[in-house]
Amino acid sequence: MALLEVKNVTKSFPFEKGTIHVLEDVSLSVDLDEFVCIVGPSGCGKSTLLRVIAGLEHPDSGEILFHGKPYTTPSTAITIIFQLFGLLPWKTAIENVELPLEILGLDKDARRERAKAHIKMVGLEGFENAYPHDLSGGMKQRVGIARALSLHPEVLLMDEPFSSLDELTAKSLRSLVMEIWRDPALPTNSFLMVSHNVEEAVYMADRVVIMSARPGRIVGEVKVDIPRPRADYLRDELYFRRIDEVVGILQESNHKQVAAAAPSARP
């Protein structure tokens, strides 16, 4: 039985004079110690799917199963890293990490220790008392990672975590995330990431799940069997082959949609 299961989730939102069907009958699973990445174009509902999984939104139909039981409200077992970091601007880096720990019920010293340890783990030692507006994008995201991991969740969700960063910073953060994932000492080993960057997905994930847009549906899946550490395989033919597979599925589903929308356009 998978650790996390998404079963036939459908979700729509009311919009001006109608409804937008964001997700349609989406099903996928994440096993223990797996790194799964969802790719799809903008607007395909990936972020909404993550929010449904995290318990921030409720699906119109279908359910989320965690350890086989329905998962409907946010808890510290599944945490998120956001695209735009989501740090409270009036709290320092370490205070941002400590806040959820305070809510969890840890006492002052325990909080501080754990927060410090995680800040060190993401490489921000020395910046504990900096405010978000003093930090660069990459540093803010590191704080976000520290915060999400300090709760010792079982599953870590990531919503396009590197999209707002420049490529160089994104590279170093990707390595950081891979290190954390691989680290057996850390309790969190099941990651679900959402991205629109195919290269990134193939580099990081065990499995790449492909979604189409409007409505969001799963249209395919590619198992990435490249050995780890993947950094050694970035010039390898296998890497590019997997990328092409993913892109192929994306394009095919795109063509199908265009064709379905305008059948009379064909000569």
Binding site: P14, E16, R51, A54, L56, P74, T76, T79, I80, F82, L84, G86, L87, L88, P89, W90, K91, L99, P100, I103, L104, Y131, H133, L151
Partner: protein, 559 residues
């Protein structure tokens, strides 16, 4: 369309019925002039609004397109805006009455001047803000395609300023009603001067006829009238005007699809077209503009202009240029004798303002946060806000005083009335700013909060309040601005003189200023006291509000 028509006809019928009933059943010699008074007041406000619009738009465009004009006008008007209008109103009265020998024209002019100054600055700054808000890429492309001069004004500036003008006009209209009662009935040196109108009638009802029932009826009629006109004209205009703007002009637009769904479904709301979209455009533009840093040159020019007006004013009254003698005389004539008590007066007035501010802040925070988060509370508080906004506070004053005087005696009654009226006055700005800020908390922060279990009181202290701190500061600036006007009005009740032969006052800066103006006609002292008030207002802006705003700006989420 249909709904609007129904609202128009239905509301009009309702008000007509109310008027008819009032004229039929209220016993008062002047009651049959009620429609005429309504007409005069409406005419006065509308006329002044038209003048303010013309002035505000033309000078606003001038100030934002011409370097020299902006150097002179903007700091100067900013300075004028900081001074409570009711503070220099006595000076204006003294000036005009002596110039026109106390004729009707003098009072009419002074009423319109008062209304003009309350209206024009809002429109001016709205226009300036809107022109500055035109994105640079629009400006640049217009220039490269040869759109300049008059064409530029017509095709680029006018559409850009339309929402701000409509907003400013709505605001001006409301301010007109606010000041109307202070403007239409004045007691100066023991004589009553008035112009026909609703404000005059209301004042007379309270002070001359001592008829609280009549006063309450009038207040009800005024409120209904204001609500009716607001919902018809301004809300409609606002809807039309805010389409196709560069960015949400009104960060104070509270509605959203489905957010006020509960309110919208209440039948009454639908009918009156009220509370649906609260576009109350309180001048955020004006408030944030005040916090601009002016260069020394600009400050100097503003000061020079202000001084020249002062000199001119004193000269016109005293019939000669102010010299050392006039000034010395001013400072020795009564009530200059009380100058020693000035610090105490300042402390008392600031104390009243401070208490009222604290109360309104707490209430507004409670109401605002609840209303923004919970639809049920919103359904209760938004209509309260709408109606509370419509009641001209100064008009409420005589009625409230009449009631409290009966219970607590004149002095305590006046104190209590002053504080209550201040709270009612200050609270709406704060409420609106807070609700809008809570609704504008970035959704990501909300999600983070929910995810990590930030709930209830913790959420309020850790998430909500820090985010809305800048809005609280801007709300406070506006509240204090209107508070000064109210306190100057509230501390001094000349109308009592028709009863007891002596005007009633509580010790304070406002009453001191009023007495200097209305009882003794001591222009020099009056201007001096006005300078004191201006200094207090400006130093609060510089030392308190500006600093706070800068500190909290850091907390803003970068996009």
């Amino acid at each position: 369309m249909n709904r609007r028509f129904l609202a128009f006809v239905g509301g009009f019928a309702g008000i007509a019925v109310a008027y008819f009933l009032a004229m039929r059943f209220v016993q008062n010699p002047e009651i049959h002039s009620l429609p005429y008074y309504t007409f005069r007041t409406l005419l006065r406000i509308t006329l002044t609004l038209a003048i303010s619009l013309v002035w505000g738009i033309s000078f606003g465009i001038l100030a934002s397109t011409n370097k020299i004009a902006s150097l002179i006008l903007i700091p100067f008007i900013d300075l004028l805006q900081s001074i409570p209008i009711l503070g220099y109103f006595p000076a204006v009265i003294v000036f005009l009455i002596s110039m026109f020998r106390g004729s009707q024209l003098a009072i009419e002019l002074s009423a319109m001047m008062l209304l003009f100054t309350s209206m024009a600055w809002a429109i001016f700054f709205g226009v300036v803000g809107a022109v500055k808000g035109i994105p640079t890429n629009v400006e640049e492309s217009a220039r490269t395609f040869g759109v300049s001069g008059y064409r530029y004004v017509r095709h680029v500036i006018l559409p850009a300023i339309t929402p701000a003008v409509v907003a400013g006009a709505t605001l001006a209209w409301c301010d007109g009603w606010f000041f109307m009662i202070a403007a239409e009935y004045i007691e100066y040196a023991g004589t009553a001067y008035s112009v026909p109108g609703l404000g005059m009638y209301l004042a007379k009802a309270s002070y001359v006829y001592n008829d609280l029932t009549l006063a309450t009826v009038l207040l009800g009629l005024i409120t209904a009238l204001v609500l009716y006109i607001n919902s018809l004209t301004w809300h409609t205009l606002m809807d039309r005007a805010t389409r196709g703007t560069y960015k949400p002009v009104f960060r104070l637009d509270l509605s959203g699809v489905g957010q006020l769904g509960v309110v919208r479904n209440l039948g009454v709301r639908k009918w009156l077209h009220v509370g649906d979209r609260i576009h109350w455009p309180r001048s955020l533009a004006a408030a944030s503009h005040r916090l601009r840093k002016y260069t020394r040159l600009e400050k100097a020019i503003a000061f020079a202009l202000a001084m020249s007006i002062v000199v001119f004013g004193v000269a016109a009254v005293a019939k000669r240029l102010p010299d050392i003698d006039t000034i010395r005389k001013g400072f020795s004539d009564p009530p200059a004798g009380e100058l020693a008590k000035l610090p105490m007066y300042v402390a008392l007035t600031m104390g009243r303002l401070g208490i009222a501010y604290a109360i309104s802040l707490v209430l507004a925070l409670g109401m605002g946060i609840l209303a923004a988060e919970n639809k049920k509370f919103a359904a209760i508080f938004y209509p309260i806000y709408d109606i509370g906004q419509a009641v001209p506070i100064l008009a409420l004053f005589p009625i409230l005083f009449g009631v409290l005087r009966g219970a607590f005696g004149p002095s305590v009654g006046l104190e209590l009335t002053a504080i209550i009226v201040l709270v009612l006055d200050m609270i709406w700005y704060m409420f609106l700013n807070i609700v809008s800020a809570v609704k504008n908390i970035p959704s990501e922060l909300n999600e983070v909060g929910r995810l990590f279990g930030l709930k209830g009181l913790r959420k309020v202290t850790h998430l909500v309040i820090p985010t809305i701190l800048p809005a609280i500061v801007t709300g406070s600036i506006l509240s204090w601005g209107t508070g000064w006007n109210t306190i100057i009005f509230s501390e001094y009740m000349p109308y009592e003189s028709t009863q007891t032969g002596k005007p009633l006052a509580v010790a304070g800066l406002g009453s001191y200023l009023d007495r200097a103006g209305y009882e003794y006609g001591n222009t020099v002292l009056l201007i001096f006291l006005l300078g004191v008030i201006a200094t207090i207002v400006l130093s609060m802006e510089g030392l308190v509000w500006r600093r706070l705003l800068r500190r909290f700006e850091r907390y803003r989420m970068e996009a």
